[in-house]
């Protein structure tokens, strides 16, 4: 876009270019981004590469061995390879993280944008509703939902997505409200743009920065909630694996087989770590005031 305005490209700076420079200056954020990206690749492709063991194949004669050349991260009591189970667990944990964040993003952005754009009584009713939902202890309801109905991962990510959209809606509404009465919106109205066109092609692109930042920080909090539920034994069910489930298994047997706890726990924490650093860096880059 910006190239059109000047001959001397170096002098033209756009929001996104500035942001990119600020982000690249943030070493830990770049490291976090790379780590998370590699983790996704690793979990997505790993099971196709390391096909020697499967995540559910039980081999009792190999039960609970420490790390070795055969089983890099050891085996659990049923002789299942921990390395492979971590890869499959990562697929579930990261998958739920991304999917539920998308659900939260979709509902939150639409809800917040409409409330902020329409304003007036509609806005106050919509925000009142968000406030009421905020005061409901949702973690308790997610636990309830997972225990009472079948422990199904689709239900889990819908439930988690439904909790996480509230903050997104608040942020987007606040941002939209701040730019709602600026001249460019009036100009678009004068040119006959309809409401949905104004919202989608004028307002939302202008608040994309905070949306991206918050979405990045939502992924780790969703993964945290998923693992929390799986840790209680209410989420993903064995023989399938998820990081929360592996930590649960490890926690029950840690006194005799510490590697069952240490490997999944440190990988899970490192992933959360990398996402939080990436989110922090993005916040500095895209939303310098925030």
């Amino acid at each position: 876009m910006s190239e059109r305005y000047g001959e001397n490209k170096e002098q033209v700076s756009s929001l996104w270019r500035d942001a990119r420079e600020r982000l690249f200056a943030h070493k830990l954020a770049i490291f976090g981004g790379c780590f998370f990206f590699l983790m996704i690749l690793f979990c997505a492709l790993g099971p196709f590469i390391f096909t020697k063991y499967s995540y559910q194949e039980i081999n009792l004669s190999y039960g609970a061995q420490g790390p070795s050349a055969d089983h890099w991260l050891g085996t659990d009591e049923k002789g299942r390879d921990i390395f492979i189970r971590i890869l499959y667990g990562g697929r579930i944990s990261i998958g739920i993280g991304l999917a539920a964040t998308s659900v939260a993003l979709l509902i939150g952005v639409l809800y917040g944008a409409i409330a902020g754009f329409v304003g007036g009584a509609v806005d106050s009713v919509m925000m009142r509703l968000v406030e009421i939902m905020y005061s409901i202890p949702f973690t308790i309801f997610v636990i309830l939902l997972m225990t009472l109905f079948q422990r199904n991962i689709y239900l889990l990510f819908i439930a988690v997505g439904c909790v996480e959209w509230l903050t997104m809606a608040r942020i987007v509404r606040g941002q939209i409200l701040a730019i709602r009465h600026q001249a460019f919106v009036e100009a678009a109205e004068c040119m006959g743009a309809g409401n949905s066109r104004i919202i989608f092609s004028h307002l939302i692109p202008n608040v994309l920065g905070p949306i991206i930042v918050y979405a990045t920080l939502t992924v780790p909090s969703v993964m945290l909630l998923e693992s929390f539920i799986s840790f209680l034994g209410l989420g993903v069910q064995p023989p399938m694996s998820s990081w929360g489930l592996l930590i649960r298994d490890g926690a029950t047997k840690m006194s005799i087989y510490p590697w069952l706890l240490i490997f999944p726990a440190s990988l899970f924490s490192l992933t959360l770590f990398s996402l939080n650093f990436l989110g922090d860096g993005l916040r500095d880059a895209l939303d310098p005031k925030g």
Partner: protein
Amino acid sequence: MLKYICKRLLQAIPVLWVIITITYLMVRMAPGDPFTDEKQTSPQARASLEAYYGLNDPLPTQYYRYLVNVLKGDLGPSYKNTAYTVNELIGQSFPVSLTLGLISFAIALILGVAAGAFAALRRNTFLDHATMSVTMMGICLPTFVLGPLLVLVFAHWLRWFNPSGWYDPSDWILPSLPLGLYYAAYIARLTRASMLEVLSQNFIQTARAKGLSEWVVTVKHALRLSLLPIVSFAGPAFAGIISGSFVIETIFNIPGLGKFFVEAAFNRDYTLVQGTVLFYGTLIVVFNLFVDVIQAMLNPKIRYS
């Protein structure tokens, strides 16, 4: 002020009603019932149980009866622990959870505020970066990761504490640490950010110009004002410590309300589940109200908006 409190109390009523109703509907819509378990209940026994608890009446009638009882403060009998009422079960197990929660909350506040203020006063030095990296690690070590790791190191390897149980005060330390440290990390980051903002304001310069000692300037002037965002974080932190206590009580085998709640949901003990959710809901709503009132007292802008 009184008007503000009344207004907030009135707003709490619909929230509690929504909590009661959602829980009621969810529990009733779920497949399975409290009388199905490993030993087969005979059809006659089941029918008489259902008649005894009034489960054959139309749903609206049952719902109405439940609401009336709740208003009277009666949460009903427990379907699984038949010797007890829900009120008795909550009354027995809640003090344990409360002790755990209060210790964790104290750890979070004291450690968090101290670390945050320390980092802010040494802005951009090595100590500041080190403190902030440690808090970032704290945020990425959720209770269900840190809890087992602490048990592994301090109970199994070093043998300083018992790995589980709740018998004497030395058993209180290990379970409260993972809960408290997680929120201490959050609070430290919040305190640092808000302290830095306050320290850059004019009145701090004025205080220094008056010749006040550095201690008075930082603690009496700066720190007091920087605690405002901490007060508003206390609400979510409280709710988080409650849900964290489910995990901690399970890991450490502590006979608190959190463990009861998870077990009751597994066993489909309808009344106990409803009662616990309502109890937690009320607790959170009341605590949030309390936080809002403190905030309104500290900051007149909220009161009059």
